[in-house]
Homo-oligomer: 332 residues x 2
């Protein structure tokens, strides 16, 4: 059973998920492990993954066979497990609980060589639909407080499989970075009675220095204080605190803009590894006037080292105004 442990000073939680029988030197060797040719996420290999929890594009066929356009399956090596009670408890001054949660893999396409930058917009639209469907379904589990959707693309960004996929983790606590965002947004709202993200969109539209592109419903921009070169945020223009409130018109706009943004990134920095994270309100909160859901996209172009670990500061060698200009000027 994985265990959730809380650092007694900062309150940072970690998941201790032991891989038994591993010896120390295995860690070093593992890094250079090469990928085999076999792909467990490709059509025909459905039996290799745990049974699917969602599939699109296969209305008249049995589950867990081919013919699907998108599939969601539990992670075969989950960081958290779905069965059990939280059993919160202390150990002297320390706090811990059982590692209860859901860990799912969204297989974004049946096509092994497709990426978010190359897939058709309607395929990308299915990906966002699947995020929404899975969050709504998992929200019914009363043990969960937060659901994070994220994607690791490329080995140095943490991906262990090549086939285009994203992941979802449902957590029994609201994670620290989300809580810091919520607190920061609330402080701003208490002072100004406005959402800070709405104000950011307004100022960016006035300054027009860091916008990469926009359509009727969404905007892609380089944030003012980006942690990494070419970091991008994709935001809904309407104030909306949770991703699951998006309607079909918004999803169509999001897919169109996101597709174009991924094409720009892939033209400016071919094959660059990246991570993206969907930040949305905690699932038990009601509609929040001060919080605005968004996607944070971080190309992996630098290594967090001692300075970053020790301070939380980041050193970024590309001003966001330059990054935005480069991305804006790509011809698609």
């Amino acid at each position: 059973m994985p265990e959730l442990r809380r650092d007694p000073i900062i309150g940072r939680w970690v998941i201790i998920a032991a891989e038994r029988g591993k010896r120390p030197y295995d860690f070093i060797i593992e890094k250079d492990k090469t990928k085999g040719g076999f792909c467990p996420l490709c059509p025909g290999n459905e039996a290799i993954t745990p049974p699917e929890v969602l599939a699109y594009g296969r209305p008249n066929h049995a589950p867990n066979g081919p013919g699907w356009k998108l599939r969601v399956v539990p992670n075969k090596f989950p960081a958290l497990i779905i069965e059990g009670e939280l059993d919160k408890r202390g150990e002297g001054i320390y706090d811990k609980m059982n590692g209860i949660g859901a860990h799912e893999v969204i297989i974004e396409t049946p096509n092994h060589s497709e990426t978010l930058a190359t897939m058709p917009t309607d395929q990308l639209s299915m990906v966002f639909h699947a995020y929404k469907d899975r969050i709504i379904d998992l929200t019914r589990d009363e043990r969960f407080k937060y659901i994070i959707v994220f994607k690791n693309y490329g080995r140095s960004a943490g991906a262990s499989l090549e086939h285009s996929h994203s992941q979802l983790i449902a957590l029994p606590i609201v994670p620290q970075i989300i809580q810091e965002e919520l607190d920061g947004c609330l402080r701003y709202f208490d002072y100004k009675e406005r959402c800070v993200f709405c104000d950011i969109i307004r100022q960016e539209q006035q300054q027009n220095l860091r916008i990469i592109e926009e359509n009727e419903e969404f905007i892609t921009l380089s944030p003012f204080a980006p942690r990494s070169p070419f970091e991008m945020w994709v935001l809904p223009k309407r104030h909306q605190s949770r991703f699951t409130s998006v309607d079909d018109w918004q999803l169509a706009n999001l897919s169109e803009l996101f597709s174009s943004t991924m094409k720009r990134l892939s033209k400016a920095l071919p094959n660059v590894p990246y991570n993206f994270m969907l930040h949305t309100a905690p699932i038990r909160d009601s509609k929040l006037e001060h919080y605005h859901w968004h996607i944070e996209l971080m190309p992996k172009l630098s290594t967090a080292a001692g300075f970053e670990w020790g301070t939380g500061f980041h050193i970024n060698t590309v001003p966001p105004e330059e990054a935005a200009k480069i991305l804006r000027e790509q011809s698609l």
Copy 2:
């Protein structure tokens, strides 16, 4: 001039230090750049580095020549620069200031192939002495609020030079992670009237599950909620809020214990890349009853990916009790 920018939501600061003339694809290529044979930190090449600010072991010779046992020089490619005013200012809802600070390199040994695990204890003692001397000297600059000492060892932990060195950055603000630590320690102190780190040491000594080793003045342990496999903390047993309060007796004990800890790490995980960070009280604060300086050592065995970036959570596959046991059982 580098620029410090503050994220308007979380309050996270970033350093925007543009490397001019770099084109996007340079980022991708740079990753595979190989090191040349020439070492700018080796004796005989003193003219390559900026003029030294400190040197040990060369009392009767001119500065910036050979004969030294340890040298401290300004970083040739600094993240922050020493000349100028902070000039704090706004840009609409955003905050920024000039990137004023000091960025120095501690060349730990004249011997290119020596590491912290192989160097004699009295050489390691000079390294800690140099940290103390440089922090005391830079504290006199009224513009600085925090000084962080850190080390990146190995390419994947962010080191660009092989020759054993650590770094120091003096900052005009107290960084977010340090502030979170200070806040957490103060909350604990307000409730218990005790230092949380002192309580951690006491509990670890009672439980004896996560201690790696200790001597009269210092203790090395695996923290209860480690972010990475084999993370270690080195703490003074006396309550002491700032590193610069250490006396010579303590420094001798620290060098002895740290040397042994580095040998254990290097035996358990040969050549593992790592980062360490010296966490001490902000330089303008008086003695703090609630804060306890310490060194955090993180072997680089995993990649922070979307989940970690998106939540601040960490997934650790080695329970600290197992890591401590493995490190404790190494024969030195």
